[in-house]
Symmetry: C2
Subunit: 105 residues, 2 copies
DNA sequence: ATTCAGTGCAACCGCAGAGTTGCACAATTT
DNA sequence: AAATTGTGCAACTCTGCGGTTGCACTGAAT
């Protein structure tokens, strides 16, 4: 996964409706139509969101008969979390080093 | 920190320019004007981004004489990472439980 | 054969936001 | 006193995107 897609993942996670979808999928696979019944948005809107989530790997299509269900990929979230943590730790490390130098220690 | 602000943090992280700013700040504190010299955007644009980052706690203003520098808050990133990881783990746990039940185990 | 979900594609609307220019103001320098 | 530098605020443009409606297609059910 590249840095460019990291930003894309965050952009995907920066929308309330998509979090609602992810939360709903967290209770089990569901199709776009099924999600549209639970959420206050159109099926087409949900389909678009699912496409976005799919492109960044947060969600996975699961063909079930004639309908297309989606499953949330928790592993992608944990992977993103690890990378985020690494960046934060690195910045803290570098900045505290700068601070020490500035203080002449 | 609430769930609503979690989404806001991700929205803030879902922009390339803001990552450029964060990366630049990762090498040391800097003012909006200083950042504008390194990045291909106007000072005003940077000021707006800094305001966004500040509202979600990813960045901190540091008055330095007459100019206003900003410092990246790595701790906020690591905190966000932890929460993200927790959500991912929970979803994986619940979904694998559902899967076991569906398989009749 | 026909109705009935479920999906996909396309066009359109409205708004938020990323970026710009322009101006006004305070502190610093010369 | 004048020029310089850093900041803040306001208005404007324009693209992106969340959401909608509408239509066409396919597989299942009656």
């Amino acid at each position: 996964m590249t840095d460019a897609t990291l930003v894309a993942v965050f952009a995907a996670l920066g929308d309330d409706t998509r979090w609602s979808i992810l939360a709903a999928l967290g209770e089990g696979e569901a199709s776009a139509s099924a999600l549209a019944e639970r959420l206050p948005v159109t099926r087409q809107a949900i389909a678009k969101h699912l496409a976005v989530l799919r492109e960044v790997g947060l969600v996975e299509p699961v063909p079930a008969g004639r309908e297309l269900r989606y499953r949330v990929v928790g592993a992608e979230l944990t992977a993103t979390a690890r990378r985020l943590d690494a960046v934060g730790a690195e910045w803290d490390r570098r900045l505290s080093a700068i601070k020490r130098i500035a203080e002449g220690l």
